[in-house]
């Protein structure tokens, strides 16, 4: 019993230490802001200030159910221009919990493929044409252009 308690306490201590390092090393982003990283540069933009366009279409959730989207959104194809980037191979979109989805340059630049939309005050990535919702990233805080 004592050994088990020692193992559990050791694991709690290791977890606390790792969490401390992780929480203090990650870049903090204000709610409603987006951190764009590219080639060593970091740019912070406010989602509310971006020029949005009308977004409509259908997406599938993880259960395969079809959901209709009809809202305003910022096209992912315009993100490289925000950071003054011409050539890139991939755009990775990260949520607050580090869940991420990537779009190739062809996908990112194609019109009407992917958008950042407002989802109850949080930014969400939607990708049209996907067979599942793996690239449906909720609470987007960071975008990396590679």
């Amino acid at each position: 019993m004592k050994k088990r308690i020692a193992v559990i306490l050791s694991l709690i201590a290791v977890t606390a230490l790792l969490a401390f390092i992780y929480l203090f090393s990650r870049a903090s982003v204000k709610p409603g802001d987006l951190l764009i990283r590219c080639a060593g540069k970091e740019i912070t933009v406010t989602y509310a200030d971006l020029d949005k366009s009308h977004v409509s279409g259908t997406v599938k959730n993880k259960k395969g159910e079809v959901k209709t989207i009809d809202t305003e959104g910022f096209p992912v194809s315009s993100i490289p221009a925000l950071a003054n980037i011409g050539d890139f191979s991939e755009i990775s979109v990260y949520s607050d919990d580090e869940y991420s989805a990537s779009l190739t340059s062809e996908e990112a630049l194609s019109d009407g493929k992917a958008y950042l939309i407002d989802d109850d005050g949080k930014i969400r990535l939607i990708v049209f044409g996907d067979e599942d919702s793996k690239r449906d990233v909720k609470n987007v805080v960071r975008i990396e252009i590679k």
């Binding site: 088990r4 290791v14 969490a19 993880k62 949520s95 607050d96 919990d97 919702s133």
Partner: protein, 184 residues
């Protein structure tokens, strides 16, 4: 392979359901912790795996955890409780089941059966977290380390009630070794 008795099967089926329900019930509370740590999960699954470990450790039947995890994955798919893994959810259920069986098999001659439960609980939680990471989350670096550490800690903590429950159940199946170990 030992034959599974009807009573054991009923208990295993009950535990499969309990595991799924526990996961659903605990998720809102677990999310509070994981959201504050900025990781996508790692707690609720560890708690639900406890309900697979208890019968597997009590009955000492190799393959029990794997069988339960297969049943749990079928139930999860039927009820639409697929989480973030979607159609790949069965993989996320079955791999920890196999890991539990292997751990309990490796620790079958251990002087303290609770050590096997502890190892199985930690290994199963970590394997579930790694499976979810490979299939869905794709975390790396320090975020992955925190995610795995949280899963391992949850598994370790859950091994305590799992040991007690397995000890209590063992009294009904005349497994005195486990019972004495837990009560000592």
């Amino acid at each position: 392979m030992k034959r599974i008795k009807l009573g054991q099967m009923i208990f295993m089926a009950l535990c499969c359901d309990c595991g799924l329900i526990a996961k659903k019930l605990i998720s809102p509370f677990a999310d509070l912790i994981t959201e504050s740590l900025h990781i996508p999960g790692g707690i609720a699954t560890g708690i639900s795996l406890m309900f697979i470990i208890v019968p597997a450790a009590s009955f000492r039947i190799f393959g029990c955890a794997t069988l339960m995890s297969v049943i749990q994955s079928v139930l999860a798919l039927s009820f639409g409780m697929v989480g973030s893994m979607g159609a790949l959810a069965p993989i996320g259920y079955i791999i920890p089941g196999i890991v539990i069986d292997l751990c309990l098999f490796l620790f079958r001659r251990s002087a303290s059966p609770s050590s096997g439960i502890l190892a199985a609980s930690i290994a199963a939680s970590v394997s579930a977290a790694l499976t979810a990471d490979i299939l869905v989350f794709r975390l790396y670096g320090i975020a992955l380390c925190v995610y795995i550490a949280v899963a391992a800690t949850t598994g370790a903590v859950c091994s305590l009630p799992a040991s007690v429950l397995a000890g209590r159940i063992s009294s009904y199946i005349s497994d005195r070794t486990l019972k004495e170990d837990v009560l000592s």
